[in-house]
Symmetry: C2
């Protein structure tokens, strides 16, 4: 889904109308360097960058799928991933939590997971809000980071290449299995429950490459590549066969479904970047040694618009979006 | 209720346990000047200050009481009031919103109110998140401000005086009437629906007075004076008879109830400050001319702890907290 004025837009027709109204609000003050619409806003003085990410029970998580500590850990990491997407270094977190009555133990677990996530990231928990909910648990995580030279989504040129870190589709595979009532292998559960934002990787890439666009994969490769394409006013083609598929997903769901999920599934929190042609080939071996992760070319930038996936037979079809709850595609 | 690590704590026993767990999270990084626990965190470089405030349907607002535009306006102003409490100047807002299905019109109104509030404050809407809710509408507002010399809650000395801006209890009176199914006068509805944070007033007071403690009245005079007292390790006595009562509340509910609500009721978003003895008397006339608002001495600081209210007969009783939804006291 397209984003406007920093508002993350999830599926749903009526949201379009609201988005337009929100987009009409004043969007760029004198203190804002990079305005809304990218992964995070960058503020003058510091430079501080800020992003916010709301997780709602039954929309983004289910209490019978993960522990409270895992849900909170995941929420913080998802928010911190927006810092990676700017090549920023997260420094502080604020957490707003709404809890229904009678979930004492779960609330304590949330607190533990929040603390664990902040410790893991080496950031300070500097504030928040704790309130009652008449229904779902809601967790809204604000992450502040420092960045000298933020990498935006825009800047791609025709002929550039699109690269991704790590392997894709594991999180969507886990959601698909859980949704079907299946049990996850401990390894796949870990992929789903403990995503790690690629912060060190983003900082390294910024140092070693000419990043012409950077985003984290929260909405799925198809969707997020669309954000990169739109930000530069160009088109992207993704090579279906070269997308790196999570082997745990492949083992659980077979190669065909796993590959589809690698392209369409969200919440992998890997990085997707645009590099000048040839640059990724030179970097990938060192990247793999340093981080133990593949850096894989998955597509290229061309004159045009939108994202299309090129399949094994050379046929092109439109990339589909991702429904965060269902773990599947929506039209 | 006490606050810890910037977490705003609303009524509810189990919250205490969660608070302690949250308080154990790392709370003060090298980039944080004033840590959590005050109205807002202050970050190095800028200096930026940040606060977050979550409003949940059926807990903080009801859709049959206010329009969507009013609810959003109120949520932004409540969050901006935390900037006033630091004598900071709000500059940017992020808004996370969770919306149930089928509230298209209401969502549009929220967007309008958000835009109106940002325009009113002269701040930029720099980001946010828009997502689905399976139940209540949830609005989480992040406000960023600039501050050269933040005024914290701490710094009171025994013998200092406690002063408040404006008149109190109007918002609680409106909630009480709405809860009873009564209709509000247009004036009282306006007090409730369109609170204005005292930002210019806070900046002026910082310029003209030796502020030894500053807070905004969100939890009610009794509760918020308690935060001031605790931050300085001292006690505060409030003079029941001198608390400035909102005349609209008095007209609707009579003098006795209105005065009780002025002491216990929340969400007035007036300022409460600690000044050296005598200083407020010198400032109040100029303050009234400049802002059209009274500046009233309501109590004093003493060795000891907690907040006690001194009634007309000189008897003291403990100040009570405020339940944001009920508009009344809780034990």
């Amino acid at each position: 889904m397209p984003r406007a004025d920093g508002m993350r837009l999830r599926p749903g027709g009526e949201f379009e109308r609201i988005r337009h109204i929100l987009a009409a609000a004043p969007g760029l003050g004198p203190d804002v360097v990079i305005p809304a619409g990218d992964d995070a806003a960058v503020l003058k003085g510091g430079q501080w960058t800020i992003s916010v990410d709301m997780s709602v029970e039954e929309v983004h998580f289910r209490r019978d799928w993960l522990t409270g500590a895992e849900i909170a850990f995941r929420a913080v990491m998802a928010a911190a991933s927006d810092m990676a997407a700017m090549a920023a270094d997260p420094r502080a977190v604020l957490a707003s939590i709404a809890l229904p009555e009678g979930v004492d133990e779960f609330g304590s677990e949330l607190g533990e997971g929040l603390g664990e996530a902040c410790s893991f990231l080496g950031v300070a928990l500097v504030g928040g809000d704790l309130t009652r909910s008449p229904g779902p648990v809601v967790i809204d995580i604000v992450v502040l980071g420092r960045v000298d030279d933020p990498v935006s989504r825009a800047g791609a040129k025709a002929g550039d290449e699109v690269w991704v870190t790590g392997v894709l589709g594991g999180s969507a595979a886990a959601v698909k299995l859980l949704d079907a009532g299946d049990t996850l292998s401990p390894e796949l559960r870990d992929v789903f429950a403990r995503p790690l934002p690629r912060i060190a990787e983003a900082l390294w890439l910024r140092e070693h490459a000419e990043l012409r666009g950077l985003i984290d994969l929260s909405d799925g490769l198809g969707g997020d590549a669309g954000h990169l394409a739109a930000a530069s006013g160009l088109g992207i083609k993704l090579d279906w066969a070269s997308v790196p598929v999570d082997p745990l997903s492949e083992k659980a769901l077979g190669p065909r479904v796993a590959r589809d999920l690698a392209v369409t599934g969200g919440e992998d929190y890997e990085l997707c970047c645009v590099l000048p042609a040839g640059e990724g080939d030179a970097l990938a071996p060192e990247f793999r040694v340093k981080f133990g992760l593949p850096l894989t070319r998955v597509g290229w930038v061309h004159e045009g618009s939108g994202v299309r996936v090129v399949d094994l037979d050379g046929r092109e079809h439109a990339a589909r979006g991702y429904d965060h709850f269902r773990g599947g595609q929506h039209p």
